[in-house]
Every structure is written in structure tokens, then in C-alpha cells.
Symmetry: C2
Subunit: 214 residues, 2 copies
DNA sequence: GTCCTGTTTTACCGCTTGGTCAACAATTGA
DNA sequence: TCAATTGTTGACCAAGCGGTAAAACAGGAC
């Protein structure tokens, strides 16, 4: 089981019904896989949520792994876009603010996607190991170099750039991955846009200005 | 399935063999559950890792849930200790540094414990829902009040204290929960103590001093 | 109508899973 | 020493699992 790094092209023709049902299945699969992980999810669960019988689902995806890999491929590229878009020529603080804001927006808009990766990585990333070691590593190394240049140029404070990227990931994805915990502590208010704004402000303030009084 | 909030006392007498084998089982179960979550783990896996037959394991814990709940109970209390120990009368910056350092040390020393919670919460926290809404919420609210007092007293910058706590959790636990990803990007060096020190410095610097040049 | 293609369902298979049971082995205590 | 207790195991079961086969169904082209 392994994801292809590029979005697979349908190659052959596909009917309208195929497109619709594939979409329905992938949506249902995302919800299930993002909650229980690959091993903890069952085809029946996905079929139920997709509103179709198990054999019918298996008519569109021959095996459980195929669904899983498709869901992962479907979201991987999108997920890295904000980091890829960080502009080496832009103003460092503006770029970082923008990056954080976009990551936070994605976590809020598609928390299941975040949880899907979290589950995959927790389980040792069997399906995306290669992706992590190549595409992701290359992108992160490239952006870390950009950050380092900003630091040696004295435009932002010196912190290990890899760790900085990890920290931004950790903070922005926390509200998606640990939503249950956040909601248990904060209450229903955790859904409000006000809460999300406060979270964004807190992250930005902490990362950019720090806690110490100046 | 639900954890009891206090450590259960053995009540009846228990033999030496019982104590030893329970410990072996719980250690094996922690490794398995922390990787695959409750639903993704099997009793056979745990029995294999514990080096005993499945019926023998079930002699000590009647059901899969019982093992799971026991493992959770075993680690929950320890996990919150650092936050509980944060001293309202201490120096804010010192206390925060200490808290971060202890959390980071725990994540490094027992990453499986961190991943166990991550998995449980990702799956909607079916076993510790009550714990999150009572014990954890109370503790967090209490410490958030302490942080808020420090802020209104002008001893640290003003950031929403709940979010601050979430951010510290996110950052310190990231290296345990996403170890696979970190290792894929950093390489084997990720195990080194040097790497861990750099991580600690980065977190502390970011949280306390921020990124902007002063 | 009837053929063809694509879609859906019913029935099923073999394997894994959580869990039981009864028999057997080891330990303990008098 | 020997019986009672505690610990261990192989055989087994019912339910759940991923997956298959084949028949039934739908709809358009002729």
C-alpha cells in the first residue's frame, strides 16, 4: 500500500454515476478513516455512511486499501499548498502570518483531513512513508532554508527553522486533531468564529511577539 | 467503557505472579494501543508482545476494554502532574519554562503514552470523555486563572490563557505524536539528545521571546 | 421488443476477531 | 505430602471482517 505522489489520472472514460459515487464514497471514507484510522475502520462503516451496500462500494474500489490511498492522495497535495506558497521574496513576518492564517483556516474548514494524517502518522505512516521522505522532506528543507536566510539577514529572530515549521504545524493542527479535547474543556463555544479568531490571535502573538513583556 | 478517575485499588490480595504479569500485559498493551488505537488493536497482538497466550492474557483482564481502560488509568494521572505542579506563587517565566521542560521530557521519555491519548482523542475520546469534562477541565480552568492573573499583573504578555495551554500541549507533544513524520524529515538524528535540546530551546525561545527582532 | 453496457443486490466464502471452556500444570499452604 | 488454589493452554464458537460470484436490474441503441 502506497500513495502515488501525483494525483492519478482517470485514464479511461468514466460515467457520470461513477464520478458521483466515487465522490460520495471518498467523502464517507474520509470521515471514517479520519476517526478510526485504517485498521480501525471497516468497509461496512464506509458503505453505511455512503448509503450503499458493501459490494456496491467494492464495485468502485476493489479493496479497502484502494479507498484509503485515494482519500490520502485526494488531500495530500492541498495540505502542503500553504507551505509551498510561502514566498522567499515577501516580508518575513507577513509571510509567516499568512502561512499560519491559511493553515488555521484549513484546519477549521477540513478538520477530518488533518485527523486523517494524524492517524496515518500515529500508526507509523505505512502508506505515506515514501511521500514523507521525499516530497515532504524536500519541501520542508527548501522552506527551512528560506527561514534560515531570513534569520541570518536579521529579519526575524534566530530559531532552528525546522523546529519552527514543526511548531507551526503543531499549533495550527491542534484544534483539528484534538477537537474533542478542546471542546470538552471550552464547551460548545469552541465552534464559534470568535473562538477561532482568538486562537489565531494567540498563535500569532505567541510566535511573533512571545510571552515576555517588552 | 469508561476510566475511573482515581487509580483503582486492587481491593483483594494479589499474588506476585499476578502483579508481574499485569505489568507485562499493560506494557505490551500500551505499545499496541498507542500505535493502532483501541479498535485497530487486537488481543492477539498484545498477547504476542507480552509473550503469552491469548486465553492466559484474558485470565488477567476479562475483556479488551478492561486492558485499555487500565492502560489509560495508569498514565492519565502522571500525564497531568506537570501542569498540576505549576506554582501560582512562583516566577511566571520560570514556572512556564519548567512546565515546558517537564512536558517535553515526558514526551521524550514516554512517547507511547502521548500517542495513546492522541489516538483516544482522535477517535472521539469514548473512554475518557467524562475525565476530560471534569478533572481535566477543572485543572485547566484553574491554571488558566493563574495565567490570567500573571497577565493582568503585567508579569507576562496578555494572550488567551486557555489557548496558551493548548499551544504548550501541541508543541511539547508534537515530537511524540508525530515522531514518524519528524524522523522522516530530520533523519535518524531525531533521536539524538542534541536534537531534543534544540527542540526545547526553540519552543522556549518562541513562546517566551517570539520571532520578531526586538 | 431485445441486446448491450453499466450498476446494484443477494448469497456466500474463508479468515480473523473477541471471548469461553474444560482440562491440564504449577504453586502454595497445612 | 497432598489437596486446594492459582496459572496456563489447546480447542472451540459465534460474530465480524475483507472480498467474490453471479444473478438481477436499469436504461439507452437498434
Amino acid at each position: 500500500m502506497d500513495v502515488r505522489l501525483r494525483r492519478k489520472k482517470p485514464a479511461g472514460k468514466s460515467t457520470r454515476i461513477q464520478e458521483v459515487n466515487r465522490r460520495i464514497i471518498l467523502d464517507a471514507a474520509l470521515e471514517v478513516f479520519s476517526t478510526y484510522g485504517f485498521r480501525g475502520s471497516t468497509i461496512d462503516q464506509i458503505a453505511d455512511r455512503a448509503g450503499m451496500s458493501k459490494p456496491n462500494l467494492l464495485y468502485y474500489f476493489k479493496r479497502k486499501q484502494d479507498i484509503y490511498v485515494s482519500v490520502l492522495e485526494d488531500t495530500l497535495a492541498d495540505w502542503l499548498q500553504p507551505l509551498a506558497d510561502m514566498d522567499p521574496l515577501g516580508d518575513p513576518v507577513t509571510e509567516l502570518q499568512r502561512y499560519i492564517a491559511r493553515k488555521l483556516a484549513m484546519s477549521a474548514a477540513r478538520p477530518e483531513a488533518s485527523r486523517l494524517f494524524a492517524n496515518e502518522i500515529l500508526q507509523g505512516a505505512p502508506a505515506i512513508q515514501k511521500f514523507l521522505r521525499t516530497t515532504l522532506k524536500d519541501l520542508v528543507d527548501e522552506k527551512a532554508a528560506v527561514l534560515r536566510r531570513w534569520m541570518t539577514d536579521g529579519r526575524i529572530a534566530a530559531v532552528d527553522p525546522h523546529h519552527l515549521i514543526f511548531m507551526i504545524w503543531a499549533m495550527t493542527q491542534h484544534y483539528a486533531d484534538f477537537e474533542t479535547q478542546v471542546r470538552a474543556i471550552i464547551g460548545s463555544e469552541a465552534d464559534s468564529t470568535a473562538f477561532r479568531q482568538t486562537a489565531g490571535q494567540a498563535i500569532t502573538t505567541l510566535l511573533l511577539d512571545g510571552l515576555k513583556r517588552r
